[in-house]
């Protein structure tokens, strides 16, 4: 168990920070694209987009139906290693509300096993505003933990710190002539936008128009996902997508 924990949160170089700060809280971004809040023993994920493949299939694009399995398996590995008391999915957990009832038996069983013995919160997103009871856990519009508001879309009325999803941030840097583009956690210390966790979810560059009103740009950091660590990169070093 300890080893698994270390794999997920490897020792980073002494110069690298391993925690980001939202309000007064320190949280740990994980390479898998989830956020672990140790003080609250809470695991946060955003934009799972389960059953996205099936939603496309309904429109005549018969994408491989394994995205739900892939996403839940990755989430399962995290849950197994961290055994958090609480799991919060920050909205768009299902690609369509109706899809939530259509999980194949094995995927349903997998989801149930992940929920067992812990508090599970589904925050509603624009894709899944009406989740059926069958999905288990607690369905809610927002959730506040330690003064931090968790919701799907960033709110322009937010007065305190918030953690959101919805925008699927990615960041791009160029160094020694080589471009690296990764999913990322984007934060200015008071707002944090989580990367999308789902297997079929694409990304939007944090320098895109849509992110513009969200951050105090001097304070922006993109925590970019690597294979051995999550790397905090100063906002001014980022490049737009082209």
């Amino acid at each position: 168990m300890l080893q698994a924990r270390l794999d997920l949160m490897p020792e980073t170089a002494p110069t690298l920070r391993s925690h980001l700060v939202i309000g007064r809280h320190t949280l740990r971004p994980l390479m898998a694209g989830a956020l672990y809040w140790e003080a609250e023993d809470t695991l946060l994920v955003a934009d799972l987009h389960l059953e996205k493949g099936a939603a496309f299939a309904a429109r005549g694009m018969l994408l491989p139906p394994y995205d739900t399995r892939a996403t839940l398996s990755r989430l399962g590995k995290l849950i197994e290693a961290l055994d958090p008391q609480r799991v919060v999915a920050l909205g768009d957990s299902f690609h369509r509300s109706e899809c939530a009832d259509n999980l194949v038996e094995d995927d349903f069983a997998l989801l149930r096993s992940l929920q067992e013995g812990r508090d599970w919160f589904w925050i509603c997103g624009n894709h899944d505003p009406h989740l059926p009871k069958t999905v288990g856990g607690t369905v809610c519009a927002t959730l506040t933990i330690g003064g931090v508001v968790l919701r799907h879309e960033p709110s322009d009325k937010a007065t305190g710190p918030e953690i959101v999803g919805h925008l699927h941030p990615i960041a791009r840097i160029c160094r020694r002539g080589t471009v690296v583009r990764r999913r990322c956690f984007a934060t200015d210390g008071s707002r944090l936008v989580m990367p999308a966790f789902g297997a079929y979810t694409g990304g939007l560059n944090v320098l895109h128009e849509a992110f513009k009103p969200l951050f105090r740009w001097q304070q922006l950091e993109a925590w970019m996902m690597g294979r051995r660590a999550v790397y905090p990169v100063l906002g001014s070093l980022l490049l737009p997508d082209q």
């Binding site: 170089a13 110069t15 690298l16 920070r17 493949g53 099936a54 299939a57 309904a58 005549g60 694009m61 018969l62 994408l63 491989p64 139906p65 394994y66 995205d67 399995r69 892939a70 194949v104 840097i173 160029c174 160094r175 020694r176 002539g177 080589t178 471009v179 690296v180 990764r182 297997a199 079929y200 979810t201 694409g202 990304g203 944090v206 320098l207 128009e209 513009k212 951050f215 740009w217 001097q218 922006l220 950091e221 970019m224 690597g226 294979r227 051995r228 660590a229 790397y231 905090p232 990169v233 100063l234 906002g235 001014s236 070093l237 980022l238 490049l239 737009p240 997508d241 082209q242």
Partner: protein, 868 residues
Amino acid sequence: MSARTRKPAAGNDQSAQTAHLPKTFADWFASRGWHPRAHQLELLERARNGRDTLLIAPTGGGKTLAGFLPSLVDLAGRPLVHGPARGVHTLYVSPLKALATDIARNLAAPIAEMGLPIQLETRTGDTPQSRRARQRVLPPNILLTTPEQIALMLSHNSAGPLFGNLKYVILDELHALSASKRGDLLALDLVRLRTLAPDLTAIGLSATVARPYELSAYLVPQRHDRAPAMRFAEIVTAAGGVKADIAILKSEVDVPWAGHSARYALPEIYEAIKAHKLSLMFVNTRSQAEMLFHELWRVNDDNLPIALHHGSLDVGQRRKVEAAMVAGKLRAVVCTSTLDLGIDWGDVDLVINVGAPKGASRLAQRIGRANHRLDEPSKALLVPANRFEVMECQAALEAAEEGQQDTPPSRPGALDVLAQHILGTACAEPFEPDRLYEEVTSAAPYRDLPRESFDRVLAFVATGGYALANYDRYAKLKQTKDGTYRIAHPRFAQQYRLNVGTIVEAPMLRVRLARLKGGTLRPTGMVAGGRVLGEVEEHFIEQLSPGDTFVFAGEVLRFEGLREMDAIVTRAHATDAKVPAYAGGKFPLSTYLAERVRHMLAERKQWTKLPGQVSDWLRLQAAFSVVPTAGEMLIETFPRGQRHYLVCYPFEGRLAHQTLGMLLTRRLERAHAAPLGFVANEYALAVWGLNDMSAMIRGGRLDLRELFDEDMLGDDLDAWLAESNLMKRSFRVCAIISGLIERRHPGQEKSGRQMTASSDLIYDVLREHEPGHVLLRAAFADAATGLIDLGRLGQFLKRIGGRIRHSEVSRVSPLAVPVMLEIGRESVPGDAGETLLRETAEELVAEAMGDDASVSTTQSPGGEHAAS
């Protein structure tokens, strides 16, 4: 039909055959002072007897008229029918829209002059919807079209009456279509047409190829189960024309060691243009075309009308250039393979091939663009852009003198194309799987398709064909009680029609000139609404930072930023571009020419054939490093800038080198050389990394023999394929062709980037959860012969079998210069990416530790974004 057939090709031996020619036709030939050529009459006789025939003729051999004679003669002999036509009589298929239009124009003359009651129409992507709909109901006698249009017509239930009386199918430029996905599509269309019209006769027209029999098999229905041997069509070969007059340009100045611009030869090229009426200048890439055009205008003191033609330019611009050529208003045109195929744009009297010829057959095809008369030699000038290309030009010239051909061999039909065809077939009418399988395997490319593969493709089309079968309710095809498959909903037919075809372009961005506010000198801002100059690959724009300059549409442009699907640029007041090129040529150096070049390099005796400066260059290489023998491969290692380089010289073409680069970097990563990226050209591969590879080899920490071991194609390949960008690009193409994901259409909001991302994600998931899926098989087969060229790489590893010669040098060697200056770099996923991320992250820390001012003076991304 132009002056192509104006002289008798042979003596009196043809008078006997002329008997087949009706009087109207004989008179028409006579009235023009022409005699029909032997091959025209031979083809006529065979086709009239219903025998599928392949005509092989050099350019200028009256090939097109030969192909149409059987149709014209047959139609001329029919009683005039009033009222609706009884379906199409002759279908002419060309790889190019423009060629179909051109042929229609040329054919109209003899039809009018002989007063034949024949309706002739074209149908291409440009034909208005209303006319296309009318053509399905009231078809012309002769329809000139493209493979995609045939597929579209076959997907309607009107296909039966439309093609039921089809007599002839003429496949023009067959050599350019076969052994490609478009060729597969056409082959499937042809067998479908045969089912609808069992009596049709297929006529193939082709330039000289390496294996005519292989090509002819395309024209006849194969009978795999009943006759195991391949069936071939009859072949008529036209007498060859006069041998081309080819020369390699001799320059006063040195041939550069590197580069593709051929800038050194500009004065000589310009003189050659001045000395001829109309010169066609072929280059291999659009960037070369841009560069050459730009440079020519710099020296164009006489203001000669010189134009530019390539696939990225705005269509209107291209049409203008074509019209000007025909009208004789131009003296020279710089072009890419867009003008390779048989359209006659004016009276070209000189072909200048700038850069590498790439293959003997490709060069012959290009040279054939000059002078469409059989009795006069085509004139060509080869201009090598660097010293490797001097050797390649010499090899190509020798091959041309010996009449050698190196057209690519045929390969099994692609499964993604089959998927598209199956859906199209169902759109027209329900089908029985057994009968469709029989039909499909009668097409030469699918002759050996196992039933199991067919069934898997069918399942893929119907429900996705996944092991986890939970899409039955979303099925596109449903099996009815009688066993036939029918389309589940009419909207799938619509989807199919939007998606038809096998040409999948890389995502493109429009290049749009910005209009500046506040004047050009002190602009205060920019408005995006300027003129569109053309399109470039998204890949290329991705490499640019705002402020970078590049050459496009004959101008030096400054990249300003991106706005939606537009790359916004301004005119740079500079003569040289910072980013010199974009995208490599599509065609790799042929194995045949590569081998000739390797031998030329190895055998010092042959150096005397080369210009002095080139043999000097090789001698310099021999003195500074090593010149490898024909059987061995040279590897050089040296430091440069902040990086350490390893350069090897396999001579296997860019695609195979790219794959080798991918696999090598994996191995180098394991050996802790921290490779950052690599670049390949036709002859060599350069890999660079953070660690000193010379020292590693010296210290025994890097074993070159092991590095190039054949087992590279085992686990390493497999592991690489999991994350390979090239594999993902192949998969994307297969996913689009097979109809898994939809094609992007103009005006659709979805950006190419998002589409690429999503097909990449699909690839990841599918590979992890169902690695044996038929679409992955298709993508792999595709990549193995195309983007990753595994076949060639395997032969190479076997060929060198450890015969490696290492040379540690202190700096770039003469031989390494060309590849070092190559553009089109691939970065390595993995360790290097980690290193760069770490460095960038540490920069943050360093900045954060320093004084606050350094952070606050950094321009905020928000501000920068607002400005772009």
